[in-house]
């Protein structure tokens, strides 16, 4: 167990910046709360008792470590050895729970009595509601009304777990607007409320907290690759919305210069259209939700609505560490369309018997394009960030449409 925190490359703890990105662009009312949270996080993270309690919950409650699985039939189709880091097998069916158990534990330690969260696909909402039920704190989740519609099973799960779900009707009625509303709640109830951010985005210290709590994915995967494959992978691949599962798995390999890090954004209906969710591939530098990073915006600095078939990637911003990794060239960011992701979901289901989330299917979809790049015997490690049960309605609807078109 680490007693201290190894800071990420390029990170300045005084300013909360990763290179030129990150920082704190929020109303003055929240600044003291962010200072308090920063202090509390550093103290907790250096406290063996806190880390021991968290590790115990991750093992016995979440089910870590999650398996590393060599997908042999998929490998044949892709033309490279593919290893899946099975975050879909974590409790609640996605990687999000790693972070929520840690943050709600931190909130409790800080004496906070109420938890709020934003959610897109509903996975972070479910994971927050789960952690709150586990640790006995009341939970309220903000979710765009559009996402409430397309991720209905997750809304019911959150309610069953005892959380109150607020359908947000403002703006594009998706994740961005849910985050706006969560920030408005937090500024109003900042004294007793803990805001549990699910993406590696938001003002400092959230991008740091979320990456540290998700780094367990990369730490496990690195050791598992060495054990099972006998070597490190040629590339680590993960989907990127806000970027929490990607930064979590990347964190384990940042220091391994020979390992390529590849983030996959949602190209929606195509990067050439206005209907995508790929700020790193098709956006520009701006400030959204408290941090400087790449965002989708108009020439006039208005944030644009993102589009992706996957609610979890449907966000016009991205975590600041990803922006920094793009600028320094340490990571590369590609994008795949809705259609490609849907086909990848079908491929994985039929070849491996795994129904992945639409988000994670973006990472699968890029694999055939990568296989040739690393030569004979290439080994690719993929973060399978979540399972696809929540997407069944969306997927079946799209497949029916596709059938009708042909």
């Amino acid at each position: 167990m680490r007693a201290t925190l190894d800071l990420p490359p390029g990170f300045d703890p005084m300013t909360g910046r990763f290179g030129r990105f990150g920082g704190r662009f929020v109303a003055e009312t929240l600044m003291p709360a962010l200072d308090e949270l920063t202090r509390a996080f550093f103290e907790a993270w250096a406290d063996p008792a806190f880390r021991g309690e968290l590790d115990g919950l991750l093992r016995d409650y979440v089910g870590r470590e999650t398996p590393l699985y060599e997908a042999r039939r998929l490998s044949e189709r892709v033309g490279a050895r593919v290893w899946l880091k099975r975050e879909d097998l974590a409790h609640t069916g996605a990687h999000k729970v790693n972070n929520t158990v840690g943050q709600v534990l931190l909130a409790k330690r800080m004496g906070k009595t109420r938890i709020i969260a934003e959610t897109g696909a509903g996975q972070h909402g479910v994971a927050t509601a789960t952690a709150c039920a586990l640790l006995g704190l009341p939970c309220e989740v903000f979710m765009g009304a559009e996402d409430v519609r397309r991720q209905a099973p997750n809304v019911r799960r959150m309610e069953l777990l005892g959380a109150k779900v607020h359908a947000v009707e403002s703006g594009s009625r998706t994740l961005k607007d849910a985050m706006n509303e969560a920030l408005r709640d937090w500024v109003t109830n900042v004294e007793d409320t803990y805001y549990c951010v699910g993406s590696a985005a938001g003002p400092h210290p959230y991008p740091l907290i979320v990456r540290e709590m998700q780094a367990v994915i990369g730490q496990e995967a690195r050791a598992q690759m060495l054990r099972q494959a006998g070597r490190l992978p040629d590339a680590v691949v993960a989907c990127v919305g806000g970027g929490s599962n990607a930064i979590g798995i990347f964190a384990g390999f940042l220091a391994d210069a020979g390992v390529a890090l590849i983030g996959v954004e949602a190209a929606g209906e195509g990067l050439g259209t206005t209907r995508h969710a790929a700020p790193l591939s098709g956006g520009s530098v701006g400030v959204l939700h408290g941090a400087k990073s790449y965002v989708l915006q108009s020439e006039d600095g208005q944030i644009q609505e993102a589009h992706s078939v996957s609610a979890g990637l449907d966000y016009p911003g991205v975590g600041p560490e990803h922006a920094h990794l793009k600028d320094t060239g340490r990571a590369e960011y590609l994008a795949v369309t809705d259609d490609e992701a849907l086909s990848a979901l079908q491929l994985l289901a039929r070849e491996e018997g795994i129904i992945a989330a639409l988000e994670s299917s973006h990472a699968i979809a890029i694999l055939p394009k990568l296989a040739g790049r690393f030569g004979e015997g290439a080994q690719l490690l993929v973060s399978l960030s979540g399972r696809g049960d929540k997407d069944l309605d969306t997927v079946l609807g799209l497949l029916a449409e596709r059938k009708a078109e042909h």
């Binding site: 300013t15 920082g23 704190r24 662009f25 929020v26 109303a27 003055e28 009312t29 929240l30 600044m31 003291p32 709360a33 403002s170 703006g171 961005k176 607007d177 706006n180 920030l183 408005r184 500024v187 109003t188 109830n189 900042v190 004294e191 520009s284 530098v285 701006g286 400030v287 959204l288 939700h289 408290g290 965002v295 915006q297 020439e299 006039d300 600095g301 208005q302 944030i303 644009q304």
Partner: protein
């Protein structure tokens, strides 16, 4: 001293708190904006806060969110707001503070916006999501252009943070009456007014109180102790309810006259 500080000093000499009135540029269209500013000044406002609409106004309650949406839907840009400011200067010399969020300013360019705002007759800036730690890249060009930079202080601000705000402030300091968003109901305006008065003494700057001040009674409570009173959501609601520009001018002017009278200290 700039026009904003002059307005606060003049109000103080006349035995009243300065009245600061917010409206959103381009709500519901940019040709209303110069007319509304002139009507607001005429009715007794000492300073006007001109909102620059933003797609994601996280510090604002519903009234100002809707105003921003109306303005953006009507095609309002920062450039357009500056054009409206130029037109306003043919009608009134009331000090005008641009009020908004950082991203549109960042994208416009910090030096360019300071220069163009000065040329358009703007007097200062207040940027809600730009705390003192992040302010330097914008605050420096604003100061160089001879414009005021107005920081926010909140009930949660620590003594060190208050000092930091005082160090970047010119014109006045904006004290947020409560932990919350604009337009929410304030329950302890008397306490906020007292805190603002104490803050003014500490920082040796005028301090205005905003958030949750809706009625002349609210304004009088704050004006008894604070240097300035800011009203926004109540104004914006009147603009939204009006069927025509003339109706909006009359309705807003009536509200402002009542607020201005309430700002007079007994």
């Amino acid at each position: 001293m700039g026009r904003i500080a002059d307005a606060f000093a003049k109000a103080n000499e006349e035995g009243r708190a300065a009245l600061v009135i917010y409206l959103c540029a381009g709500d519901p269209s940019l040709d209303w904006t110069p007319e509304l500013i002139a009507a607001i000044a005429e009715a007794g406002a000492d300073v006007v806060e001109l909102g620059m609409p933003f797609s994601d106004p996280t510090a604002d309650g519903e009234a100002i969110q809707l105003a921003s949406q109306r303005a953006l839907k009507a095609g309002t840009t920062l450039k357009g707001a500056l054009e409206a400011m130029k037109a306003t200067r043919a009608k009134t010399d009331v000090p005008v503070l641009l009020f908004g969020y950082y991203n549109p300013l960042l994208v416009y360019g910090e030096e360019a916006i300071a220069r163009d705002a000065k040329a358009a007759g703007v007097d200062g800036f207040l940027v809600v999501d730009l705390p003192p730690e992040e302010a330097a890249p914008l605050e420096a060009p604003i100061r160089e252009a001879g414009l005021d930079y107005v920081p926010l202080v909140a009930p949660t601000s620590t003594p060190e943070r208050k000092k930091a705000a005082g160090a970047v402030a010119s014109g006045f300091v904006y004290y947020v009456s409560m932990t919350g968003v604009t337009g929410a109901k304030a329950t302890t305006l008397d306490v906020a007014a007292e805190s603002a008065a104490a803050l003014g003494g500490e920082l040796e700057r005028p301090v205005a109180v905003g958030f949750g001040i809706r009625t002349p009674e609210d304004a009088a409570t704050v004006a008894a102790k604070a240097d300035g009173v800011v009203v926004g959501s109540a104004v914006v609601r009147r603009i939204a309810a009006a069927g025509s520009l003339e109706e909006a001018k009359a309705s807003v002017a009536e509200l402002v006259r009542g607020l201005a009278a309430a700002c007079r200290r007994p």
